[in-house]
């Protein structure tokens, strides 16, 4: 089992970050995310919480040994469930891989919460674990590769979202500045 976590903040208010969540892709920093689909969504009429279930399609080259051992292709799919709760100003995203899930799981949790009126804290954790049915050496190798890939993508995701938030706030500034 590998564990990953990072915390930082975006220089944008919580509401703008949460609006930005739906505009993150496509993104030149995350060219590996090629499709995004909403497969389920509900707006709770009592609590106002919005639950969204999406499938993200990714294209990223896997090392030859992964393809040989586990089959599969460049296409990988992820299930992501998010909750946006305006009452508590909390947004969470939980993701898990659908592809290769019989061999390994990568659970990711993201939390967006206000750090102040103009800043938003981003908390990300991930657990990466190969299933026990694999030989130890193979499962270690698979875990290490997944961790490496996750860490690379996490850094790219930060760059990607920073750009999106900047351009969203830029276009809003322009709109509000125009007469």
């Amino acid at each position: 089992m590998h564990y990953f976590s990072q915390v930082f903040s975006y220089d944008h208010p919580w509401s703008k970050v949460v609006i930005g969540m739906w505009h993150k892709y496509p993104n030149p920093h995350c060219a590996h995310v090629v499709t995004v689909d909403v497969v389920d969504r509900s707006v709770d009429p009592n609590t106002g919480i919005i639950r969204t279930e999406r499938i993200l399609g990714c294209k990223q080259k896997a090392p030859v040994w992964v393809v040989k051992l586990f089959g599969g292709s460049e296409d990988a799919f992820v299930r992501e469930v998010s909750f946006v709760d305006p009452a508590t100003q909390t947004a969470t995203m939980t993701s898990v891989n659908l592809s290769l899930s019989q061999f390994a799981t990568c659970y990711e949790h993201v939390l967006y919460s206000p750090a102040s009126n103009s800043r938003t804290t981003f908390t990300q954790t991930a657990e990466i674990q190969a299933r026990m049915t694999l030989w130890r050496s193979v499962s270690d190798k698979l875990e290490n590769w997944l961790v490496q890939r996750f860490e690379q993508n996490a850094q790219l995701g930060k760059l990607a979202f920073t750009d999106v938030l900047r351009s969203l706030s830029g276009s809003q500034d322009k709109q509000s500045a125009s007469p």
């Binding site: 505009h23 995004v36 689909d37 707006v43 009592n46 106002g48 639950r51 469930v81 305006p86 898990v96």
Partner: protein, 102 residues
């Protein structure tokens, strides 16, 4: 806007995403300031949930039907159902435990 899994669903997806985003942006700011009285919040949530259904409900059903078929055609429905069984995520996850930060 990102593409759909299936090219034939992409136009429906874009129409739906635009509808949702417009609704969401109008929903969010007042929802934040309504946080005081719970009755007020409930009334607002109820009204907005209905508004979402009325404005985006039709295009959502079209897009959902299209994407459900695409998910099935690609054999992702079994994987999705398995993930849903393992972790339904019907409720927001509990706040993360505060860890001792080094």
């Amino acid at each position: 806007m990102a593409h759909s899994l299936s090219p034939e669903c992409t136009p429906l997806k874009h129409e739906y995403d635009s509808c949702f985003n417009a609704w969401f942006e109008g929903y969010l700011e007042p929802a934040l300031s309504a946080s005081a009285a719970s009755e007020e919040r409930r009334a607002y949530s109820k009204r907005k949930a209905e508004e979402y259904e009325n404005t985006c409900g039709k295009i959502w059903v079209k897009y959902r039907d299209c994407v459900q078929k695409a998910v099935k055609d690609r054999g992702l429905d079994d994987l999705l159902n398995q993930a849903r069984q393992e972790n339904p995520l019907k409720e927001p996850p509990p706040p993360p435990m505060k860890e001792a930060t080094s």
